[in-house]
Symmetry: C2
Subunit: 350 residues, 2 copies
């Protein structure tokens, strides 16, 4: 019997409400596939920051580095600045555990309205560099508080960092029928790092002769997401460009409220982390009406990562089925189910 | 009689084909309004780079700094690297002439299909910082050509640079009925420059109590462009974020092929520059079928900037009229008119 120990971080706001439904559904499918999960709940959150003075314990990461995966709800709350809630929890996990791949699916679901006229066929993946690039601690202020004030931010792209995300993206493209990779760049405007990115794409493409590569500057690429979304298969981008594209993509399919994401360490030296794309949603937190599908779908990605592709697929198919039944859905999708009712409906549909 | 001397830079590819139509239409409306234009043609381009070794003469900018405006077609060609064609022509003009505002309209036209289902009402402006920020010469490579290679890019945001673009954007918002300004940020990920940007927005907003301000991280902002484009009025962003949003916006209205832009020096110490958003389009260059509307509409923005709002409006109305007549349009819009025929049709519709 396959056994896994998962670090569970419900986090803040609706993170705490959707997490039980994620666990419910993963447990239900696990039982069927003879998989056993142990869920270790951690209180790492803005609440903890208020009561204990930090988002997580000092040796927090040491305590979970041997876990098989991390299942996260949502982190952040209006009372805690982002540089604390994100840079003392989410981003250190991504970096310390070398989760350098952020993977997000972009696809249509029957029953979910697509904002594009004609509802074109859309089914692709965004592969985002998740550890370096534009997100960097390097920089600061000169002449703060004066008219001469300036702020400087350094972007750092390493060959190791760029090559490993490209390799992952090319492997994914190679495994898909279309074998098509699109690189997001801006080498006409960002003249030091982006031409370097393009060079590494060119070098890596030579190792994957079967994969068709193209590249677009990020400005026109966002336009193509709206105008020609059917042409994409695997889209790879830097930390910032990948961040933008992985919100825009699900907006174009109408799935931004239910999108999942995987923060993956492909070498499995450290646990990978699975989290919905949505945030802690202070406006609806505490009402029991948050949509748990992003959390549940992230659970499917976790099963997939752990080697149980079939079990993950069963969850995705249950989500597909339930999405066609409006009366089973939460208010954001026009229904009046609670978070728990929708979680149970998906568990029942497995 | 108002008289203006304009530096004309047709540039490369279809830039050379659409420019005569821009001049045709501006001249036609000028005659009606008693305005006289002198057009000084310059050969600054990739062609010039090949024949004379540089995109423009060394003292090129000196020669046009007294002109009333610059009218540009498109710059760039596959045989010349971007860091030459753009960074030795387009970007030095923007910077040396302190054209720190890049202004682009996002609106629907009857007759132009909108890719969004339901064709929501869309009518807003993108105000992009055009001189500093993420576009910077500062940076370089360490250990080039080795496994330890890295590329570094510095983003530089000054209080002077940020405040002046925000002031322009707030003035614009203040002048509009909705009085609503949206700031593009990413202060949760880009932790030095973007929190600084947010601070300056907050400070500037206090001087404009009638303007309603909101802000979104760039990732979710691109999603809102697709999901709720009607909510925007004036959107202000950094050089990179503004670049992205000003392609995405016109993609959402279906107008990306005809969009204009103004590179404005509001103090009028130097000439401002007016150019279509589209590029030199090597794939269709030389065929005489390029759509000249972006060039013509940019001419309308030039008239507006020179103080002839009415004359600019007459051009925009002529464009509106012609866009409803498919048989007058170029192949990109389903017609079979030539560039010249479409230019003449707009001149006739004035
Ligand atoms: C050509 C390129 C450098 C330019 C930019 O990014 O500024 C273009 O995309 C634009 O928007 O005018
Ligand atoms: C919260 C924020 C720092 C984060 C990011 O930009 O990485 C989020 O937008 C995401 O995509 O996971």
């Amino acid at each position: 019997m396959a056994k896994y120990r998962i670090a569970v971080i419900p986090g803040d706001g609706i993170g705490k409400e959707v997490m039980p439904e994620g666990i419910r559904v993963v447990d239900a499918v696990a039982a069927r596939f003879g998989i056993e999960f142990t869920w270790d709940h951690l209180d790492w959150s803005c609440d903890r920051y208020h009561s204990a003075g930090s988002m997580m314990p000092k040796d927090g990461l040491d305590g979970i580095k041997g876990h098989d995966a991390i299942y996260l709800g949502a982190v952040g709350w209006p009372t805690v600045p982002d540089h604390v809630s994100l840079w003392e929890l989410l981003i250190p996990i991504r970096r310390n555990f070398q989760q350098y791949v952020n993977l997000r699916p972009v696809r249509l679901f029957e029953g979910v309205p697509c904002p594009l006229a004609g509802r074109p066929d859309i089914d692709f993946w965004i592969v985002r560099e998740n550890n370096e690039g534009e997100y960097s601690e390097i920089g600061g202020r000169l002449y703060p508080g004066t008219d001469n004030e300036m702020a400087i931010q350094e972007n750092v792209f390493t060959r190791r960092g760029v090559d490993r995300i490209l390799r992952y993206a090319y492997d994914l493209a190679q495994s898909r029928p279309k074998k098509h990779l699109t690189s997001a760049t801006k080498s006409n405007g960002i003249i030091h790092t982006m031409p370097f990115w393009d060079e590494r794409v060119k070098a890596m493409s030579e190792a994957y002769p079967e994969v068709r590569t193209d590249q677009y500057h990020i400005d026109i690429l966002t336009a193509h997401f709206v105008r020609n979304p059917s042409r994409f298969d695997v889209v790879v981008g830097s930390n910032l460009f990948g961040d933008i594209l992985s919100d825009l993509g699900p907006a174009v399919t109408g799935t931004i409220g239910i999108a999942p994401s995987a923060n993956i360490n492909p070498e499995r030296d450290f646990p990978s982390m699975f989290e919905p794309v949505h945030g802690s949603a202070p406006d609806i937190a505490g009402k029991g009406i948050a949509n748990p599908i992003g959390q549940i779908w992230s659970g499917a990605m976790m099963l997939d990562h752990l080697g149980h592709k079939d079990a993950g697929q069963v969850i995705v198919r249950a989500i597909e089925k339930v999405l066609t039944q409006p009366e089973l859905l939460t208010p954001d999708m026009g229904g009046n189910a609670t978070t728990e009712q929708l979680g149970k409906a998906i568990a029942d549909a497995l």
